[in-house]
């Protein structure tokens, strides 16, 4: 029955917190890859080349409709088959980065599409260069529309890092698994892992809402959550 052991909790906490650092690194690194590759995916779908648009569109759809855990296995095991040995970390970062890149490419796309057509027309009427059109007119107006999406996927990638444990990346969940295997105690490690996730993701969500309001305020737009 219920027997929570506090001394055991204190004993394993440092180990779990150490692993939390790895989890944060994995989430951060994966997100960085996703931000860059996602932008490439989004821009590739705006090129006049029909075939490129089509291929990238289908790739994004495919990655979005299939399970991340299977993709992680795929990258990790198919590499050696074709002669590329990937470490668990590398394979994990590639899989999770590409998975979230396809989600983020949709956010980029929605953001650019959210800017009214008249803005583009005004830019060409004023004869602004492509660079100035994007940098001064389009992107600043697209930012408030993309912050919630980017924020949600940042938290999403953080919560998906436990999947990296399936190929042996030593992150928070894997640390809990090892503790469970060594001590046959599961209550404390898994509960602590849940609490650590909660303690990180809830404030992050709040911070993202604040940040969105701050950006909207800075751009002279109406705040959304000011009364919270």
């Amino acid at each position: 029955m219920f027997d929570w052991k506090w001394d055991f909790t204190i004993e394993i906490l440092p180990r779990l917190l150490d692993a939390t650092v790895n989890t944060l690194i994995a989430a951060g690194l994966g997100y960085l890859i996703a931000l860059i590759v996602g932008l490439i995916f989004a821009l590739a779908q705006r090129t006049p080349l029909r075939s490129v648009t089509f291929i990238v569109r289908e790739l994004v759809e495919f990655v979005r409709s299939t399970p991340l855990v299977l993709q992680i296995f795929f990258v990790f095991y198919v590499g050696p088959q074709i002669g590329i040995r990937l470490s668990p970390w590398t394979a994990g970062m590639i899989a999770i980065g590409l998975h979230y890149a396809s989600y983020l490419s949709e956010v980029y796309r929605a953001g650019l599409d959210s800017v009214p057509k008249g803005q583009w027309e005004a830019c060409s009427a004023l004869n602004l260069s492509v660079r100035r059109t994007y940098a001064k007119i389009i992107i600043p107006q697209a930012i408030p529309a993309v912050i919630p999406g980017f924020g949600n996927y940042l938290i999403g990638i953080f919560k998906d890092t436990p999947l990296l444990s399936v190929i042996g990346v030593m992150e928070l969940f894997q640390a809990a698994n090892s503790i469970g295997a060594e001590t046959y105690r599961f209550l404390e490690p898994y509960t602590l892992v849940g609490l650590i996730f909660l303690v990180i993701s809830l404030p992050t969500a709040m911070f993202i809402r604040r940040f969105e309001d701050w950006v909207r305020g800075a751009l002279g737009m109406k705040k959304l959550y000011a009364k919270d």
Binding site: F2, S65, V78, K159, L163, L198
Partner: protein, 222 residues
């Protein structure tokens, strides 16, 4: 080394068996998720603080932690409290409880998106609160929330792949097993990826679109 065609001939029955389990997990997971979503959304909109608080806490806890952690908790920790679930049950229950928390926010958003005038008209016409919800508000809310539910169901389908980690013999589990006996990773995992894609694109997405059209016709809009 087998050719891909021989590989399929040899292992298709096993993959098919896994696919059936995945579909079962998905269907039961959807059932749990819908029940949880409606219950928690109603609780979050309830007039009593304690009930509202429970709804909020549920949604935040299940959305704030990982599905994998929740699944392990249900499967490995709940038995310590005297609740032992079979792995199959623990699997779809975890998936449904988790995705249901996301669904609750969709339900709440859909209901709040129905224009106030509709409430007022229903009140003016003397409908009871229950009839007002059943005949006026909910059908309109449902139409608004079906498209995001389509996305959520694809997330749910993908999420069921995690049940393989507590040894439910679903598609993911089968492909892993085939991989460990044949070492034909690209074939084993690649085929499984394609099957998941086919289920998502050829069953879930068109199914939801059909549902949307039927409901729209019933409400005689669009």
């Amino acid at each position: 080394m087998l050719t891909y065609f021989e590989f399929i001939q040899e292992y298709f029955p096993a993959l098919l068996k896994g696919t059936v389990v995945t579909l079962e997990q998905t269907a039961l997971g959807i059932l749990v998720a819908v029940l949880v979503a409606v219950t928690m959304a109603s609780m979050k909109m309830a007039p009593f603080f304690a009930i509202r608080w429970f709804g909020i806490a549920y949604i935040e806890v299940f959305r704030g932690t990982s599905l994998l952690v929740q699944m392990y908790w249900i499967f490995f920790v709940l038995p310590l409290f005297g609740i032992t679930l079979e792995k199959f049950t623990a699997g779809f229950l975890a998936v449904g409880l988790n995705l249901g928390a996301y669904g609750a926010e969709l339900v709440r958003g859909g209901i709040q998106a129905v224009p106030r005038g509709q409430y007022e008209a229903a009140v003016a016409l003397g409908f009871s609160p229950f009839t007002r919800m059943r005949r006026i508000i909910f059908p309109q809310a449902l139409l608004k929330m079906l498209p995001p539910w389509g996305n959520l169901l694809i997330e749910l389908l993908k999420a069921t792949a995690l049940v393989a980690l507590i040894s439910v013999t679903d598609l993911m589990f089968m492909s892993k097993q085939i991989n460990s006996t044949t070492f034909m990773s690209a074939q084993a995992f690649g085929t499984a990826l394609i099957i998941y894609y086919i289920i998502a694109r050829l069953i879930v997405t068109p199914g939801m679109r059909g549902l949307e059209n039927r409901l729209a016709r019933k409400l005689s809009i669009g």
